[in-house]
Amino acid sequence: MGKNRGELWTKFMDYYSAVFADGALTEREKSLIALAVAHTVQCPYCIDAYTKASLEKGADLDQMTEAVHVANAIRGGSSLVHGVQMRNVATRLGM
């Protein structure tokens, strides 16, 4: 992607590196967030990359599993909460 409009690629990569650097959150915490998001967007490359990154940065399998459950809870929860929309329509149309 950097072969055309290389400056955009460079800007993105600089930003990407800055996002994952140690800050108010540690690199381990950011890797766990990335791992959860990777499962939400179901990106197999991201899952591989952030499984490895999480291990390298000191996370263990319990923590990584919890992160995936957080992703799952948000996804499942958001489906459930959209049930309100279903209920509203059904209530409006029903007797």
């Binding site: 140690d22 540690t26 291990l55 940065k57 000191g58």
Partner: protein, 344 residues
């Protein structure tokens, strides 16, 4: 878990370990230095005399490059320990770094500490923490504090699962108890009582950013266990002995060696510890580092080869370092040494 030697595993033989590493398509370390325009490794003035007093240990860790354990009997004698002190007397090396095995289980450990401190040298004890809880070592922590010995202790994770997976069931809980005991004596809290922790990856990957991991360790150990410490050192697992056996058994050998080679950092070369260390084995043989010691690669290239040579040697300890394929472990990523990373 028994040692590789006790189950007569082929990898208990250093010749077999060398053969396994040489079968891989890994370039020779010195060729890689040359390809990056770097000279072969030469020593700087020696700052640390590191002695491995033996392979006896109360633990049998899964990654141990020494293949140490309760079933090992190799141990430095009092006579050799006295010659180590004599060598310190003759050579102005500022630090004595004592490792093992569990070095405290050697009968000459306290003699070495007392004599080295009397010579005004800084002493480091590479401690597995659980040894402090052994009944026969009940006064060990007080002894170390009294002599202002720096403690460098292994704790691969601030959580139980990772630590116990690498070091054995229940080791994390005992380690926390030992750390609390050290904190109560002032370790990790008072000047002159330095307590550092060592993080090794719990698997076939490189360690993460040392400073970031230190923040995690500091916050988690204090908030969950009330434990304080001074520094965290990250160390790369070396493809030697039990970690080599793990790599082979788990199908990770080739990938891990490729990772070490691909992560070669020319900026880490200048700071590798062998340039400022001299390592002595339990039997008085000299090595460039503890890893070379475990691979039976003694000092060559013009340096003293035994403790006897060292006693007769002048003050010039310069030599060219003996290298092999395991050396990529110290130059991968941010580099790795007994004092943690060596480059950005």
């Amino acid at each position: 878990m028994p040692s590789l030697l006790s189950i007569r595993h082929p990898l208990a033989s250093t010749a077999e370990q060398h053969a396994m590493l040489e079968r891989l398509a890994v370039p020779e370390f010195d060729h890689t230095l040359e390809r990056h325009g770097l000279a072969r490794l030469e020593t700087l003035p020696i700052e640390v005399l590191q002695i491995n007093v033996g392979k006896l240990c109360n633990q049998t860790c899964a990654h141990c490059h020494v293949d140490a354990g309760p079933d090992r009997t190799e141990s430095m004698t009092r006579d050799t320990a006295e010659r180590v002190i004599e060598a310190l007397r003759r050579h102005p090396i500022p630090k004595l770094d004592i490792t093992g095995g569990a070095p405290e289980l050697n009968p000459s450990f306290r003699y070495l500490v007392e004599e080295a401190r009397a010579l005004g040298r800084h002493v480091i004890d590479r401690c597995n923490l659980t040894v402090l809880l052994i009944r026969s070592q009940a006064d060990l922590a007080e002894f170390l504090a009294r002599h202002r010995v720096e403690i460098v202790a292994s704790l691969p994770s601030f959580r139980s699962a990772g630590t116990n997976a690498q070091r054995g069931d229940g080791v994390f809980e005992k380690s926390i108890e030992a750390l609390r005991r050290l904190n109560a004596l002032g370790y990790g809290r008072e000047p002159g009582l330095s307590l550092s922790l060592v993080h090794n990856p719990v698997g076939a990957f490189l360690p993460g950013n040392q400073a970031s991991l230190e923040r995690d360790y500091r916050r988690e150990l204090m908030s969950r266990h009330g434990v304080a410490f001074n520094n965290l050192y990250t160390m790369t697992n070396m493809p030697i002995s039990r970690f080599l056996e793990f790599l082979e058994r788990s199908g990770n050998l080739e990938r891990y060696l490729d990772l070490l080679v691909a992560s070669f950092n020319p900026g880490a070369v200048a700071g590798v510890m062998c340039r400022t260390h001299l390592s002595i084995g339990w039997d008085g043989t000299l090595y460039d580092c503890d890893f070379n010691q475990m691979l039976d690669l003694p000092v060559g290239n013009g340096g003293p080869r035994t403790l006897g040579d060292l006693l007769a040697w002048g003050t010039d300890l310069r030599r060219t370092i003996v290298t092999a394929r395991h050396c990529y472990g110290c130059t991968a990523g941010a580099g790795s040494s007994c004092g943690g990373t060596v480059a950005d």
